[in-house]
């Protein structure tokens, strides 16, 4: 088990959100969208310029910029 942030995950890599290290408005927005600890995610793809990134969680697809992805730590296998 290792913890990395979403920016460094590979396409198709899966993991479980460990923490969302941001408060305030942005933190609330991310959590409203379902990014809470314990959620299983999978990287679905990246835009042509490597940013934003598309994730799959709770059965839907969410896109966010790498700047936001940096704030989310994910536990991945290996």
């Amino acid at each position: 088990m290792a913890t990395i942030n979403i920016r460094h995950m590979q396409v198709n890599q899966e993991g479980t959100i460990a923490s969302v290290k941001v408060g305030g408005e942005l933190g609330r927005r991310l959590r409203d969208m379902g990014l809470v600890p314990g959620t299983a995610i999978k990287i679905q793809g990246r835009a042509p310029l490597y940013d934003p990134v598309a994730l799959r969680l709770k059965g839907f697809t969410l896109t966010l910029r790498n700047n936001e992805a940096d704030l989310i730590d994910v536990e991945v296998n290996g």
Partner: protein, 735 residues
């Protein structure tokens, strides 16, 4: 009983689709989050109940984030509809229920509509709605908003909710630390009757813990003392939680809500046949369409293909329309005797409105193409792919949608485009977007470009339109960058957007979409444009030439006739146009027509519009615009369609030609003052100059009058600068 029913739910859950199904309206539906940005109202009558239905923008949470979410939240929280139908996307249940929980915590009378069960079923998701209803304590009715399935059952449930007494708000447990704080706060709240006439005390406490700005503000305004006490409790428990658990109260609240939902769903509410994050068809399509290498190429090909389709298939019907208006114009010319009335009808009404209506087929094909892209969900992908590029120019992925709605794919309209900027969180990015969105090629500019393309670039219509699209996007992005570096400086906001699954557009949906927008275009031509055309016709007709001057032209004509031989004069007078004239008669006729043309030209110059047009010609000549073009461009401040119609009127008033049945494109191409460079300069100017009047009002309403005025001055200066640059550089290079 009369009562109000609101439609609330996550963006793209199908609220507007249900609203249309209930009320028979044709509000805009599209497959991307944030289509509806303002509330829309309608009526539904059943069993003697007259229900006032309100469609709201989508929101992910009752703590609103962007402007359109504030609209939804304010309505639900402050105006308290009798019943709120909470539209929940069954294929995305867990995240959608997050908002449902918040509705129930607030204690508003709710009825859950479990929408898109067709999609859920297709994905192998079975939902036991009875069980869900028992667990939530409110009715849950499965529906398919698109087909109308379940509508009746849903509205029956709404009736029972409307008649039932208010329920106790739902209690979600937030863990020992927060619960202690909540209890302490509830005591203060009930003790001081703090906002308790509006909201449940527990809800107020939770909102304080969540740092909900709107509630904090409201509380501070009502009773600053209690508000301060509550904030003190929040700070205390916040510090404690941060120290012991390294998290924030609001994060804990969200965790517990999601925990509540998943434990509820685990009690046999949902049966999933597949792994939930497996890739469905939609995701496999995305592997290609948003592929890092193929994606951008496909995007350009889609645009090019759309234009090819539009220009190829609309060419013939547009030609028919032109023919029809020419025929009408000839018919009127032949029946009415010369005079003001004939001039008004032929030059003012038919040339004016006909010039705009003639493009209806083109507009219709364009709208159809855009509807396909929008309903399928492809446009959301375009926003995703372009976000990084837009970020470079100080804009945002959500700006892409505003651009496209404004005419980023030629044919939109800047008014809904400006409204669409509501989904942008940062006011700075929002202003930069709404100031530059009018640079897109809206449906009103399209006829101007189509006309100039037909006149000067007939060989490559689709390609020209494609190039013009790229120019307008490029110009808008550079202008946005400039604005973001000067007047609206500021940090960029996060981009967090849901990507909806692809959906197969329904034929009916596409038809409604196309028809609705085409009808609006035609209706505008028949009303606003007609009015402005008539006004402009009057400005181009009055004041009329003084009698003395008319007399000189009459003298000239008499002089020509008297020098010709009587036989030729008689031949010309008798001729009905059928048999060919002798050479001498043709010469006489041409001489007379030359005088007529000079008189018509002088009359137009003498008119009010002509004087203004000639008055500014010394300036506009730098960009290659003559006085007649100036008249059209001035008309364009009111509405861009008027440019085509006024050019039509100006060139039909200013020239008298018996064979006047040539279309405007042919006339322009034949005009001595016009060449390809003039067309380029005019295209650039029209693309970038002041937004039409309605858009300016809309910009002002969405921001302030200052920005409304700014958009007129800034855009017109920019446009003129660019047009002069094009014209002067082109001339210097010998074009």
């Amino acid at each position: 009983m009369n009562f109000c029913v609101a439609l609330g739910g996550n963006p793209n859950a199908g609220k507007t689709t249900l609203f249309n199904a209930l009320t028979g309206s044709r509000q805009h539906v599209g497959n991307y989050p944030g289509v509806t940005v303002d509330r829309k109202e309608g009526r539904y009558v059943q069993n003697g109940h007259d229900m006032h239905i309100v469609d709201l923008p989508g929101t992910y949470s009752l703590t609103a984030y962007s402007v359109e979410e504030v609209v939804a939240r304010d309505f639900l929280v402050n105006e308290r509809p009798r019943v709120t139908i909470n539209i929940v996307d069954a294929s995305n249940l867990e995240r959608n229920l997050y908002l449902t929980i918040q509705f129930l915590e607030l204690g508003i009378p709710t009825c859950v509509a479990l929408n898109m069960i067709d999609v859920a079923r297709g994905r192998g998701i079975e939902i036991d709605h009875n069980k869900l209803s028992r667990l939530l304590g409110v009715p849950v009715v499965p529906i398919v908003a698109r087909s109308g399935f379940g509508k009746k059952a849903l509205m029956d449930a709404v009736e029972t909710v409307a008649e039932a007494p208010l329920r106790q708000p739902l209690r979600v447990s937030y863990g020992p630390d927060l619960e202690t704080a909540i209890q302490e706060m509830e005591k203060m709240i009930t003790g001081g009757n703090f906002l308790t006439d509006l909201y449940p005390s527990r809800w107020i406490a939770i909102k304080y813990l969540e740092n909900d700005e709107q509630i904090l503000e409201k509380g501070g305004g009502t009773d600053p003392q209690i508000s301060d006490q509550l904030e003190a409790v929040t700070r205390k428990v916040g510090a404690h939680i941060e120290e012991t658990l390294e998290t924030y109260p609001e994060a804990m609240i969200a965790d517990h809500r999601y925990g509540f939902i998943s434990s509820m769903l685990k009690q046999g509410v949902v049966k999933e046949l597949h792994d939930r994050n497996r890739l469905f068809l939609s995701d496999r399509i995305d592997k290609v369409l948003v592929n890092r290498f193929a994606g951008p190429i496909i995007m350009l090909l889609v645009l090019m293909g759309l234009y090819q389709f539009v220009f190829t298939y609309s060419e013939l019907p547009v030609a028919w329309c032109e023919k029809a208006f020419e025929w009408l114009s000839d018919l009127v010319s032949a029946t009415l005797s010369d005079g003001l009335l004939k001039s008004l009808i032929v030059s003012g009404v038919i040339d004016g409105v006909g010039g705009v209506l003639g493009f209806v087929p083109l507009i219709m094909f364009m709208f159809f193409g855009i509807a396909v892209l929008e309903d399928s969900g492809y446009l959301a992908r375009v926003a995703f792919m372009l976000d990084r590029v837009f970020q470079i120019f100080g804009l945002h992925g959500s700006s892409v949608m505003a651009y496209i709605v404004s005419g980023g794919i030629a044919g939109g309209c800047a008014v809904p485009g400006v409204m669409a900027t509501r989904t942008l969180r940062s006011p700075k990015e929002r202003i930069a977007t709404l100031l530059t969105a009018p640079f897109m090629n809206c449906g009103a500019k399209l006829p101007v470009f189509a006309l100039l393309i037909a006149a000067f670039f007939p060989q490559s219509r689709a390609r020209m339109m494609f190039i013009l699209t790229l120019i307008s996007w490029g110009g808008a992005l550079l202008a946005a960058k400039f604005l973001r570096m000067t007047v609206v400086k500021g940090a960029s906001t996060p981009f967090v957007m849901e990507l909806p699954p692809y959906r197969l557009p329904t034929f009916r949906g596409l038809m409604i979409h196309t028809w609705e927008r085409t009808w609006q275009y035609a209706k505008k031509a028949g009303t606003v444009i007609l009015g402005i055309s008539v006004l402009l016709w009057a400005a181009m007709t009055f004041p009329r030439l003084p009698d003395a001057q008319i007399e000189t032209y009459d003298t000239q004509r008499r002089g020509i006739v008297s020098t010709a031989s009587p036989r030729v004069v008689e031949e010309l007078e008798k001729s009905a146009g059928a048999q060919p004239l002798s050479a001498a008669a043709v010469e006489l006729k041409d001489d007379l027509l030359a005088v007529d043309a000079r008189q018509a030209g002088a009359a137009l110059r003498h008119s009010l519009a002509g004087r203004i047009g000639t008055g500014i010609e010394s300036v506009t000549r730098w960009a290659g615009f003559d006085w007649r073009t100036n008249i059209a461009l001035l008309g364009g401040f009111a509405a861009k369609e008027v440019i085509v119609s006024t050019l039509g009127t100006a060139y039909s008033l200013g020239t008298v030609d018996v064979e006047a049945t040539d279309s405007l494109a042919v006339k322009l191409a034949a005009e001595p003052g016009w060449r390809i460079l003039t067309a380029w300069s005019l295209i650039v100017f029209v693309m970038f100059y002041a937004p039409c009047f309605v858009t300016v009002v809309c910009i002002a309403r969405e921001s302030s009058w200052k920005w409304g005025a700014f958009s007129m001055v800034f855009n017109t200066s920019l446009a003129f600068f660019l047009a002069v640059a094009v014209y002067q550089a082109g001339t210097a290079l010998g074009y």
